[in-house]
Amino acid sequence: MKKLFVFLMAFGVVNLYANEVKLSPQEILKKSIDISSPDTMYSLTKQIVYTYTGKKRVFEVKSWSKGKNEKILFEYVKPARVKGDKFLFLKGGDIWAYFSKTGRVRRIASSAKKSKMQGSDFSYEDISMMSSLEKDFKSKIIKEKKFDGNKCYVLQLTPVKKDISYNKLIAYIKKDDFTLRKVDFYRNNKLIKFMIQKDYKKVKGFYVPFTTIMKSVKNDTKTESIIKKVKININIPDKKFNKNSF
């Protein structure tokens, strides 16, 4: 009986361990994406850009996403200077800009994707990449490490697509709930910026980071995005993400 108990305990531990190690880096990444990517999502976000001169620039952005971030639409609400301007990010990397003052729709050339989006620390490419992390990057676990008091898997993501300007990303994924906590962005093996996601709340079964901070190392600037309103799995028609509907 005692032997059986020891065997069962040992089997259980081995099984638990096996479950833990069974997850491949790609699966960890997939889980992390799945738990925070509903099919559709709407949010109203306040974005504060802290410049290196110490000034603050405040934006308000509405965003809609569909197909687990395959299509993302941003519409600026504030300040008045950019009100009504839209940016559409499509699977495959196409980015379209709509300028409300002129009514023009323009494709963002791939050379411009590295540019700052409305002066923030997020580039067009950063947003665009989010829809295809699984597909466009291969991943490997490099270590496990504590970040912000949470035990995390540390994954190295290397792009398989040529036109991505980063040569690697280091992602910190919390072990117990697979929430993405931090991403370091490297260009030519040099840390350019890092993104921290926190204040996670569960909304309709999905983990939503209510605060995202992107900090540029070189310029010592940062952009803080705070979600003010969020709606998950609502009906968003496909045409919302068609540039022809602007």
Binding site: V49, P79, A80, K83, A109, S111, A112, D163, S165
Partner: protein
């Protein structure tokens, strides 16, 4: 029929506007330009102030959208000796219905703009909406027109059908050298400034315009092709009459008109290896336009535009460098305000832009070299240099200082009359 439709527009719009609550936004713009006349360095100033207010109402399901935009314009001009004059203009007033009768069908009725081509800044195919050349501080600004605009899209294909029931001409310069209308015509007759034109063209408000456009994407290239038929918003000279009025003095009477035209348009845009490429062409077809010159010695004719279609086009590339530096290079055959193959010149346009201090400061340099392949380049060219610096002290406040310089060589160049008009300008713009 036209009256009934115009009445219908008015009723639909009034009905929607009276019930709507508008989200109000706008802009206040103060701009002042100082001309520097060589060689005496005389200064003359030109002020233009603008209060631009617009209200938008969009239904929650986004099926109905209304826009009302009014402008209060104040102008003061040393050259025309005009003391501050005010204009209150209903600028854009339209109602838009989305998914009307069928999904993805949009109907926009009212005073609106049309952006026809996809090139950058210069649009040889943009012939639907007239330009305003009367204000040197925002030259070439589009004047909204009353139109019915029906468009339908299916995936990446979009079709536009446009009907313009009322003809609106371009606003021409009052005192400045006449560079619009086939600029040319006046250079051919070579005596009159705009002020001496005694017979401004009659505006045939009954004349209407129609246009169709198809946009589509193929292999990462976005194309559009279109057709416009209607009156040209730029006038041509029908006749110039020289009559004796006193000893050795001539009185010059010029009669102008708006010709009927057909324009076939085509444009494309793509991006290859990070470089943006685009092209836009307008193929213009008129009935032959001749100017009749009547003088005491007899009557003569100058052919301005032949029956044979001609093309006005532009092509360009741009690139964003990693540092944020932006480069844009274009070649244009003709300018949008010049009509007639014989008056088209070649332009190389180089624009450079960079931002500094976290995008609080933007420096832009726009440089144009114009030449005419018919003439010797060394003796006939024109250069336009525009350098500007913009500062963003607050999110919604933008100050722009600009220096504009024009130099031309040769008597045959289109912009030769502008040679004296170097200028400095300042613009303060506040968005709310």
């Amino acid at each position: 029929m036209r009256k009934i439709l115009l009445l219908l527009i008015a009723v639909i719009m009034l009905n929607n506007f009276l019930c709507a609550e508008f989200d109000i936004n706008g802009e206040i713009k103060f701009s002042e330009m100082w001309y520097i006349f060589h060689p005496h360095w005389q200064l003359a100033s030109d002020n233009f102030h603008l209060l631009d207010i617009y209200g938008i109402n969009e239904s929650e399901d986004e099926t109905t959208k209304l826009k009302v935009r009014f402008q209060i314009r104040m102008k003061d001009n040393d050259l025309t000796n005009k003391i501050m004059c005010y204009e209150i203009i209903p600028w854009e007033v339209w109602v838009q219905f989305r998914d009307l009768f069928i999904d993805n069908l949009k109907l926009k009725i009212g005073k609106q703009y049309f952006e026809w081509g996809t090139a950058d800044g210069i649009h040889p195919s943009s012939v639907l909406t007239p330009d305003d050349y009367s204000n040197p501080l925002s030259i070439g600004e589009k004047i909204p027109i009353i139109a019915f605009n029906v468009n339908y899209f299916y995936k990446s294909i979009k079709l536009y059908l446009i009907w313009i029931p009322q003809f609106i001409p371009a606003k021409m310069p009052e005192e400045f050298p006449l560079m619009s209308k086939s600029g040319f015509t006046m250079q051919e007759v070579s005596v009159v400034g705009f002020n001496s034109i005694s017979n401004k063209p009659d505006i045939d408000y009954k004349g209407n315009g129609k246009a169709i456009k198809l946009k589509f994407s193929l292999l990462n290239v976005d194309f559009s092709t279109g057709y416009f038929e209607g009156y040209d918003y730029l006038p041509q000279v029908r006749s110039v009459v020289y009559s004796l009025s006193g000893t050795n003095q001539f009185k010059v009477t010029t009669e102008m008109f708006y010709p009927y035209m057909k324009v076939y348009t085509f444009d494309w845009t793509t991006s290859v290896q990070g470089i943006g490429f685009w092209g836009e062409i307008g193929i213009y077809k008129y009935d032959e336009i001749k100017t009749e010159i009547i003088s005491p010695t007899g009557t003569d004719y100058i052919k301005i535009i032949s029956k044979k279609p001609y093309a006005n086009y532009i092509t360009g590339i741009d690139y964003n460098f990693e540092s944020g530096f932006y480069l844009n290079l274009q070649y244009s055959y003709g300018l949008p305000f010049v009509r007639g193959k014989d008056y088209l010149e070649d332009y190389i346009i180089l624009s450079l832009k960079d931002t500094f201090f976290d995008e609080y400061v933007e420096i832009e340099s726009r440089n144009i070299l114009g030449f005419n392949r018919k003439y010797n380049f060394k003796e006939n060219y024109e250069i336009m240099l525009n350098q500007s610096i913009s500062i963003l002290p607050l999110d919604d406040l933008k100050l722009t200082f600009a220096l504009n310089e024009i130099d031309t060589k040769g008597e045959k160049m289109l912009l030769k009359e502008w040679k004296e008009y170097d200028s400095l300008s300042i613009e303060i713009k506040y968005s709310f």
